[in-house]
Amino acid sequence: MSVAATSAKFKENAHEALTDARLQGAMSFSRNFVGRRAAAAARLPEFEALRDSAKAIKDHTLTHLDLYLEAYEHKVRASGGEVHYAQDAEEARKIIIELCKSMGAKSVTKGKSMIAEEIGLNDALEAAGIEPVETDLGEYIIQLRHEAPSHIIAPAIHLTARDVEQEFRKAHRDLLPDRSLKEPEQLLAEARQVLRAKFLAADVGITGANFLVAETGTSIIVTNEGNGDLTQILPQAHIVIASIEKIVPTLEDAAQLLRVLARSATGQDASVYTTLSTGPRRPGDPDGPRAYHVVILDNGRSAMLGGEFEHMLRCIRCGACMNHCPVYQAVGGHAYGWVYPGPMGAVLTPSLIGVAEGGQLPNASTFCGRCEEVCPVRIPLPGMMRHWREREFERRLSPAPMRYGLGFWAFFASRPGLYRMATGLAARVLHLAGRNKGRFASLPFAGGWTRYRDLAAPQGATFQSQWRSRSGAVR
């Protein structure tokens, strides 16, 4: 079982988030992403063509995934590394903990990994008596708060500098209590100092992977802080945890994807550190890990291949969809209740944890389509959310008022004569009732609407009848 979800309570979570003034203040910082991505895309004339290329590479790889995995595995072994397969989260945790125990590990540094979040790795390590230390600044902050990330590339985006100061004062008790932590620079310097000692003391380093390259057996990580690199070069062993769809055929293919990844994510032309790792320390190497393991996780993904949700396996986790999503921007990532928030989370979560648990999330969309417009690998996110809504409805998982309402509407909509008569009557009645003010401040059965805004009174004729008389006039 993967990490526990509260996605089924999305509606309650979202209401809570909307009334949380602190969260709403913090979320205002996340709006910078939109302009930065647009500027980076505008600077590169080939950007749209690169998106097509990135999509084509992912589609090609997915339809040949078994063969590329074989090729990748062969190259990792040839370079002195080991490959382990995990069918689900529990198996992945078990493999990693056994590896750590076999090396006598007491402390483990971690580069930011969404797969590690998905399998609930930190709790499992702690339960096994091994201290996990998150080293990405955002991940470190939320680890101190025992929280899940609220964004896939900016995990602490729901927090303000004052929240961070509070956590640091609580956690770093051995530092001077009257030190100044007013400026973000001071917070960063403190985290650097505290984590530097943890890096040097760690027995094992665990990172995720942005890409696994079949041609060379290489894992690639992308960071701006350099934390992923210190995580993997200082300890005696480097463990990579990655899901099956991270495979790309060649270094050239990785370069195509890297060109759209950083621009779509942070609006940088390139992230500061793009690191390609192939096997453990070689003869003569004065540094680097002595052991190199890759744990490849399925956890429901292989079942998505060949089906209507296969598109989702192209995702390179840039976060552009959530940065451009009006729903995500309003409620933040925690409301989504599991590991992956925003539009990509709304599609992926029901695939990975089931429609009963995650089926509420595809409703968290206005279908404005911005996510699909900015997705670097052109995933049709709104279309797939629509597929999930259909499935939720078919399986009678949507709330009863919604099902009855849709049934009621479908009854009229499939009987045009009756529909015209009923809407014509309603339009006339509402027109007469609202003719004084021209709007309604409250209406029976529509309290959810009128609580936040007025309903304009109809003008007396339906759209259909107005259209008929107008098109008649044109003819």
């Binding site: 995995l69 960063l188 041609e215 942070t266 550190y273 190497d285 540094d287």
Partner: protein
């Protein structure tokens, strides 16, 4: 059934394949052999002076500083100047790269330390494997010549980059990797570095010097 077999079986069931299809195997083998380049941005292309100009502009956009020296022998004085002007201590760690070893460090007052870093060093110098004009990026490879720890642990990282090693794009660096390490092979660690370390995790404010170097100074040689 092993987990490996179960994962492969599930992938093949979903794709409706056995894994033995000759055409699929052929397509995969060809792609791995040919490594087609895809869309390569024009931005980095051009002769060496054009690539150097793009490299410099892009590296500076990423908050690295760039200077040029004519000869390898001119580098120590320039490294010493950079450290002095930034009030850095006069110590410098480096690996066994012969290009670095042959330079006249004794003409400076710098104390030279050799080998990987244990985290106690403030300054390090490395020699790059290549550069990428497209994004102002350095490519460094692991090994005794340029230990990977030097790229991340010190506060100030100076990197020497031969002018003729500035490739237009990443594909150019991969071609160099294949010519040095062989087709399908790669160094243990290949670091692409674009500017100094940074984080924007606190209120989306960009700050330099997160876990890696606070300053990245590039000396183009030649």
């Amino acid at each position: 059934m092993s987990s490996r077999a179960a994962v492969f079986a599930s992938i093949r069931r979903s794709l409706g394949v056995t894994g033995d299809e000759a055409t699929r195997r052929f397509d995969v083998d060809m792609r791995l052999k040919q490594a087609p380049p895809g869309i390569v941005p024009k931005r980095g292309q051009g002769d060496i002076p054009a690539r150097l100009a793009t490299f410099k502009a892009e590296a500076e956009r990423a908050q690295a500083s760039v200077t040029e020296v004519r000869e390898w022998a001119d580098a120590p004085a320039e490294v010493a100047r950079f450290l002095r002007e930034n009030n850095c201590p006069a110590t410098l760690r480096m690996g066994d790269d012969p290009r670095l070893a042959d330079m006249p460090w004794s003409e400076t007052t710098l104390e030279i330390l050799r080998g990987p870093s244990d985290g106690g060093d403030l300054n390090a110098v490395s020699a790059a494997f290549a550069g990428v004009a497209e994004t102002g990026t350095l490519a460094l490879v692991s090994g005794p010549d340029n230990p990977t720890t030097l790229n991340f642990l010190p506060d100030n990282h100076v990197v020497l980059l031969p002018r003729e090693a500035i490739e237009a794009d990443y594909e150019g660096v991969f071609a160099r990797v294949r010519s040095v390490y062989g087709k399908g092979e790669a160094p243990r660690t290949l670091n692409f570095i674009t500017g100094p370390s940074r984080s924007a995790d606190i209120e989306q404010t960009l700050l330099l010097g997160a876990h890696g170097p606070r300053r990245l100074h590039i000396l183009v040689v030649g």
